[in-house]
């Protein structure tokens, strides 16, 4: 633990804090998530630490429960998009030829279909449940990860050490996980930190299309939207969840930076 720099400590602390709050939400929240307990947009008081929201629900409780939805969905979707996107991307780069061509063009195709149409079609043919939401988000995002993973891996596959491994007769999986992955890690880790943020914001977009979180439940982006009319009048109910998203984003990326540092120093050993 001694070697962890201060910024990574801060990042780890907040990330852990948010995740713990998400897990223990029912124990921590002072009121129910949907309970109407006061007037509209009451300022912060001893009864309501962060004030109340646009119809008089306790904002702190709502944010604690909202964080649960947000963090769970975003984490699951990010992991899904990363695993599919990077594995397929590496695979395409290593195999080359028609495999690469087919996969890459298929990704082009998926990216080309406007998200709105995609989401609406999914909505009309599938039941709206959390797994569906995560699947849709994860797969849409994995096209972006695929592009990046493939681009990085293509540069690596032509390196001498990969060629050596091929000549040694190593299997595809060995090349992908032992040669490509370690050398492609930094851009991917950086991307993962950002994809997580995009996922957090994307949940609320999809919720508003009717795909995803159902009222009275809410995610952080959704709470911002519910209270958006008050923003320019200094009503904090819109700004606080945005601040929560930003701090979560920064903490997650501080951790990502630290991991990134560790991985680069693993390779060269120059620190």
């Amino acid at each position: 633990m001694k070697n962890i720099p201060i910024s990574a400590m801060i990042g780890l602390f907040f990330t852990a804090l948010y995740f713990l709050m998400a897990i223990f939400a029912p124990l921590l929240a002072p009121y129910g998530m949907a309970e109407v307990v006061g007037g509209v947009w009451e300022p912060s008081s001893s009864k309501h630490l962060l004030g109340t929201d646009n119809i008089g629900r306790d904002l702190l409780s709502r944010m604690i429960y909202g964080g649960r939805t947000t963090i769970f969905i975003a984490t699951a979707a990010t992991i899904l998009s990363f695993v599919t996107g990077s594995v397929l991307g590496f695979f395409a780069a290593v195999m080359g030829g028609w495999v690469d061509q087919v996969l890459s063009r298929f990704v082009d195709l998926i990216m080309s279909i406007p998200t709105l149409i995609f989401a609406l079609v999914v909505l009309s043919v599938m039941p709206v449940t959390l797994p569906v939401l995560i699947l849709v988000m994860g797969l849409l995002d994995s096209t972006r990860v695929y592009r990046l993973a493939r681009a990085v891996a293509v540069d690596i596959t032509v390196m001498d050490y990969v060629e050596a491994a091929r000549l040694r007769g190593e299997k595809i999986a060995w090349i992908i996980f032992r040669e490509i992955l370690p050398n492609a890690l930094s851009p991917l880790v950086a991307e993962m930190g950002l994809r997580f943020i995009f996922a957090v914001l994307f949940v609320s977009t999809l919720s508003f299309l009717g795909l995803g979180v159902q009222p009275p439940e809410a995610d952080w982006g959704g709470i911002v939207k519910e209270n958006k009319e008050g923003i320019v009048y200094g009503i904090s109910a819109a700004l606080l969840p945005a601040v929560a998203i930003a701090t979560l984003a920064i903490s997650v990326n501080l951790v990502a930076d630290w991991v990134l540092n560790r991985t680069t120093s693993l390779k060269g050993g120059r620190g």
Partner: protein
């Protein structure tokens, strides 16, 4: 000081003093800016309209797929654009009466079955052609023919025959209807040359403005029609409509002076918007209402006790406070409020968890009720649904909310699903409102209401010319709806518009649509 002020007001009225000068001198007399501003407005109003200038309107409710065809107009922007270039036979006046436009006068046969409209002479279309009774007939035919696609078809249905006699347009009905002139104020029914049969989207009409630039969903520019017949309408040289669908953006455009007036100020922030010294908030009460509708023929809502439980389980005052922020009034589970001419007050139904629990028990229902909602069913609908869920929860009624996509809500959820949030703009008369949505055979019977007594009263009232008896009939019908119907009406919304102090001449009205029934851009003027 009073003399001095009176003198100044006289100068303003005579057009000899500008707003800036007035404000400056008023300040010198120790009068606050807000008071002075109001005084200036009053004085300028007395002075009468100022001609010229440009009025810019930031308007909500338009898309890039909007058509110029009056038959297809279906949102605020499309309606506002129609008002610029065209006119109907009759229009609602600000007091709820009728305002003759292309029909100079009208009269009914004694049994209210044959109506004769005298068409105004000497009015030209913007293409130079003279408007005649034949054009009126052709227009009405286009909206009522077998192959029409007009949104006004529903109200044109009871017509047996239409004909022209010189400058008279004569309508013969299947059954008596004392309210026919009110129906003809429908915004689809603009008179077009040849009825617009050749080119419905040409935007040629007799209106006060001629469209110069048309970008659907973005911007419309109208220039004053130099031949327009009515001097009291159309003061600015140019009217520019800018479609701003985002609430915050619309308010910001008004606050930064890029537009002179906007419609649909979000109620939550209306007080804060109106606090600015150069902005006037304009509220108009009307017949529009935000509702929860149940299909009375579909389980579990076919159970009267369950319907009653839900009606007692809604907290109407809380909705008015938290959804309308006080810009509205509580509803009473009937679509009729005091804005209707023959209104009778019924006993107000209150939030009562005990009675709700009692009726729930009586109904024997112990499952969960699924309520569908979307942001575009009415502003704040998902929030209202959440409040309803909470207030019902205290009575032991379980409501599950499902947010549907805005996309397709009106075609896939409303009038299809058994319980959802919805909005009604209201109609000018009780007869029209009841026939549109509560008659058992109505297309838009969105509560699947089927009550023989109600239907009989509706038909009887149409031919009843005694006002007292008619009023009583409508009161009885409202009572039936309130106790038996599938309508939960928690609130009537007000229209909240706002204007800057750069424009003058607002008329307080009590019916129609927002922005003074969309006449504000034409009856207001740019202040000197």
């Amino acid at each position: 000081m009073n003399d001095q002020l009176n003198h100044m007001a006289g100068q303003v009225a005579a057009g000899k003093m500008t707003r800036r000068e007035f404000m400056g001198k008023a300040a010198a007399l120790g009068i606050s800016a807000a008071v002075a501003s109001t005084m200036f407005a009053g004085a300028a109003h007395a002075a009468g309209p100022v001609k010229g200038g440009t009025i810019r309107v930031g308007i909500q409710g338009g898309g890039s797929s909007d058509s110029l065809d009056p038959a297809l107009a279906a949102n605020a922007t499309a309606t506002q654009v129609l008002r610029l270039w065209g006119e109907p036979l009759l229009e609602l006046d600000p007091n709820g009466g009728l305002w003759p436009r292309l029909a100079e006068s009208f009269e009914a046969s004694a049994d209210a079955r044959v109506w004769t409209f005298k068409i105004r002479s000497g009015v030209n279309f913007s293409n130079g052609q003279t408007m005649t009774a034949d054009d009126v007939l052709a227009t009405m035919e286009r909206h009522s023919g077998e192959d029409t696609k007009s949104g006004a078809l529903g109200i044109m249905r009871g017509i047996k025959d239409m004909r022209v006699d010189g400058d008279q347009f004569i309508v013969e009905l299947d059954k008596p209807n004392a309210d026919l002139p009110y129906l003809l104020t429908d915004y689809h029914l603009l008179i077009q040359p040849g009825g617009g049969k050749d080119d419905p989207t040409a935007a040629i009409g007799t209106g006060p403005y001629v469209l110069k630039s048309v970008e659907p969903g973005v911007r419309f520019v109208g220039e004053k029609n130099p031949d327009y017949w009515d001097d009291t309408v159309g003061h600015a040289d140019t009217i520019e409509l800018i479609v701003i669908n985002d609430d915050t953006a619309r308010v910001a455009a008004l606050q930064s002076g890029q537009v002179h007036m906007i419609n649909r100020v979000p109620p939550r922030t209306a007080q804060l918007v109106g606090r600015a010294p150069n902005i006037n908030l304009r509220t108009t009460s009307g017949p529009g209402h935000y509702v929860f509708i149940m299909h009375t023929n579909t389980a579990p809502f076919d159970n009267k006790d369950l319907r009653m439980a839900l009606k007692y389980g809604i907290n109407r005052q809380e909705m008015v406070d938290k959804i309308l922020f006080g810009f509205g009034s509580v509803g009473n589970d009937t679509p009729i409020n005091s804005s209707y001419p023959l209104f009778t007050e019924l006993e107000q139904r209150e939030y009562d968890p005990d009675k709700a629990a009692f009726h729930l028990k009586e109904s024997g229902f112990d499952g969960t009720v699924l309520l569908r909602t979307s942001d575009n069913s009415f502003p704040g609908a998902p929030d209202a649904a959440a409040l309803f869920q909470q207030s019902c929860g205290s009575a032991g009624i379980n409501i599950e909310i499902k947010r549907e996509p805005n996309d397709g809500y009106w075609s896939e959820v409303w009038n299809k699903q058994p319980f959802c949030t919805s909005y009604w703009g209201g109609r000018p008369t009780q007869d029209s409102m009841f026939s549109t949505a509560y008659l058992s055979t109505a297309d838009w019977n969105d509560t699947r209401f089927n009550n023989e007594q109600f239907d009989q009263l509706l038909f009887a009232a149409r031919g009843e010319l005694d006002e007292g008896k008619r009023t009583q009939m409508y009161a009885d019908m409202s009572t039936i709806l309130r106790d038996e119907g599938g309508l939960i009406c928690p609130m009537f919304n007000q229209f909240i518009d706002a204007t800057t102090s750069d424009v003058d001449g607002w008329i307080d009205s009590q019916n129609g649509f927002d922005l003074n029934n969309f006449y504000a851009p034409m009856t207001m003027w740019v202040a000197a």
